[in-house]
């Protein structure tokens, strides 16, 4: 029983990583209706920037917002310079551009920072009172940060004018333009926010999984599984699904299919969700009138 509980809590900790990446994926989908394959690599690159700043001596409480700012700007720039060119192109072009971004970020990170693992500082001291044998201080802090971020995102999209404008720009660009929403900038802002969220995900994950160029390649698939399972347009659904996927992966690996097929669990979730319940558990059904 104790082992089961331990697996469960461990799963929640890994689930927090998936959840935070899933929230970033959902944000980009809500604001641009694109499935961004490069989200993980952008998050990893942002984490390297954070690591570099810390190496230069900047304290963590300054590095964190600085990295978010850099990631935000980078996201905006990428959208304006690269993604905008293929806005009206068929879906294939967009997907390929994302794959291109994925590949560039990955190889640049390797080129600039090398391939050996780097330790990333954690804002949660390892001997804090809330740490335990089940969940270390950082893991608990990570869950808390994920939930906090989730709350911010949810409130932003639900209750602010800007959030509403961004959702409108994605759902119906023509009508939005007619009411005065600057669609181009809404898309760019969406990318910026998503990039910043990805940076948070990376900075939270790195102390656990260790920073290296391939840090997010495994996580990305689980993040997608979570985002799809929860509803690709629903941030809290995706976060909840992230925790579910984390726990599911751990329990399935420990008790059901063995550790060899853990990634296959993600594959099954993805294929299963898109085949049987495309809107996910908590998403809205999208009906297109012909």
């Amino acid at each position: 029983m104790q082992a089961f509980l331990h697996q469960l809590l461990s799963g929640l900790a890994t689930g927090a990583i998936y959840a935070s990446l899933a929230v970033a994926l959902v944000t980009i989908f809500k604001t641009t209706h694109h499935v961004n394959f490069a989200q993980g690599e952008l998050a990893m690159f942002s984490t390297y920037i954070a690591w570099s700043l810390i190496q230069k001596g900047l304290p963590y409480w300054a590095t964190f917002p600085a990295t978010l700012a850099v990631a935000f700007v980078a996201g905006v720039v990428i959208e304006r310079v690269v993604v905008r060119r293929v806005e009206h192109a068929p879906v294939l072009s967009v997907v390929i551009v994302f794959i291109g971004l994925l590949v560039i970020c990955n190889s640049l990170a390797g080129w600039i920072f090398g391939f050996s693992i780097k330790a990333m500082a954690s804002p949660f001291p390892s001997d804090a009172w809330y740490g335990s044998a089940y969940l270390s201080a950082h893991e608990l802090g990570m869950i808390a940060v994920t939930l906090a971020v989730l709350l911010c995102v949810f409130l932003f999209f639900r209750f602010t004018r800007l959030g509403l404008a961004m959702r409108a720009a994605a759902d119906n660009p023509e009508s939005s333009r007619l009411v005065g929403v600057r669609v181009g900038w809404m898309l760019a802002l969406g990318w910026g926010f998503a990039a910043a969220l990805g940076a948070v995900a990376g900075m939270m994950a790195a102390p656990v999984v260790y920073l290296e160029p391939n840090m997010m390649t495994g996580v990305l698939l689980y993040g997608f599984a979570a985002a799809l399972l929860g509803g690709i347009d629903n941030p809290w659904g995706a976060a909840l699904a992230g925790f579910i996927v984390g726990v599911l992966e751990n329990l399935a690996g420990a008790y059901l299919v063995g550790t060899q097929l853990k990634l296959a669990v993600a594959l099954v979730v993805i294929v299963g969700v898109v085949t049987f319940k495309p809107a996910g558990l908590f998403g809205r059904r999208l009906v297109v009138r012909v």
Binding site: L92, V97, G100, L221, G258, L263, A264, V271
Partner: protein, 322 residues
């Protein structure tokens, strides 16, 4: 000279060169050319699905792997002759592709890309599964006996494999070309461009899409089988997500929805990493990424589109659609 005649002359010249090259080139270059031919078959398969039919697949590496392992297992464990394994690999992949195409019917653009991406990332793990280790060799992989030349005096093993692959490629390209310029091709492209209108016109989109998935997988599976004979070894490490990304790069660079462009795409994917290696060792993938983005933005029709534009300037005869 009209465009049609120029095309035929060009193709004939290419054919002559292709047949002559292995007798003047070194063994290693013949090996590389065979690799290009094999990739050209795989890329044509992917292009059928993604370029002509609009179903984005980021997971064709999985079908390549199935084809390769089929050959390896049949040769190693069952003792089939090597030339028989190739059509079997193709048939098996057709079945798997068709079955995968059925649920894929419900998936739109990016979701299909995501599902196939997940398949590609998971492929190495699936190949290592303990339950199948007796057949697949597990993490160790399987050695594939290189086919010897049946006309030993005239052609050595490398040249024989080259001509075998060339023959298969020629046959498959002919089939694809014939398929695409008739009703089937138009149906596929209609489904890609306006699926609802196509359905309204009476095209059985579900059947066509699934069959295309099957045929596309079949082509890539055949390529995988030949590739296994060429490399002499299959292992889970040979078929990672990077292979699927190689394929997508090749299709994009060669020209989406262009048959001839696939030869260029295959050459690009085979030769550029070696060249980029000299610039810097991290360079190849960064270059791939930059190339992908640049081509999508600047030259969406790829090298084939570029060639067509040039040809249009040179041969002002006829106004043929693609």
């Amino acid at each position: 000279m009209s465009r049609g005649a120029a095309k035929i002359v060009g193709l004939a010249a290419l054919g002559v060169v292709a047949c002559a090259v292995p007798f003047v080139a070194s063994s290693f270059h013949v090996f590389q050319l065979t690799q290009i031919v094999v990739y050209a078959i795989a890329l044509l398969g992917l292009n059928l699905l993604t370029g002509f039919n609009g179903q984005i697949s980021l997971g064709h590496g999985a079908f390549y792997a199935i084809g390769a392992y089929t050959t390896a297992i049949l040769l190693d464990k069952v003792g089939f002759p090597y030339w028989a394994t190739v059509p079997i690999a193709g048939a098996l992949c057709f079945g798997v592709g068709f079955l995968f195409g059925l649920p894929a019917l419900r998936l739109e653009g990016p979701y299909l890309a995501l599902a196939t991406f997940a398949l590609a990332v998971t492929t190495p793990q699936l190949l290592k599964v303990n339950a199948l280790e007796r057949w697949t060799g597990g993490v160790q992989g399987l050695l594939v006996e290189k086919p010897g030349s049946p006309i030993g005096g005239v052609l050595d093993a490398d040249q024989w494999l080259y001509f075998l692959s060339l023959g298969v490629a020629f046959g498959l390209y002919l089939v694809a070309w014939n398929l695409l310029r008739g009703r089937t091709g138009r149906a596929l492209m209609a489904i890609r461009d306006h699926p609802i209108a196509a359905a309204t016109m009476g095209i059985d989109t579900a059947l066509y899409k699934s069959l295309t998935f099957g045929v596309s997988a079949c082509y890539t599976g055949v390529a995988g089988a030949l590739g296994a004979l060429l490399a002499g070894f299959v292992s889970p490490d040979s078929f990672t997500i990077l292979l699927s990304i190689h394929f997508i790069v090749g299709v994009v660079v060669g020209g989406i929805a262009s048959i001839g462009g696939m030869l260029f795409g295959a050459a690009f994917v085979t030769l550029v990493p070696n060249l980029a290696d000299r610039i810097s060792q991290a360079a190849p993938w960064a270059i791939y990424g930059a190339v992908l983005i640049a081509f999508m933005i600047l030259m969406p029709t790829g090298a084939a589109g570029f060639a067509r534009a040039v040809a249009r300037r040179l041969f002002r005869g006829g106004n043929q659609p693609i």
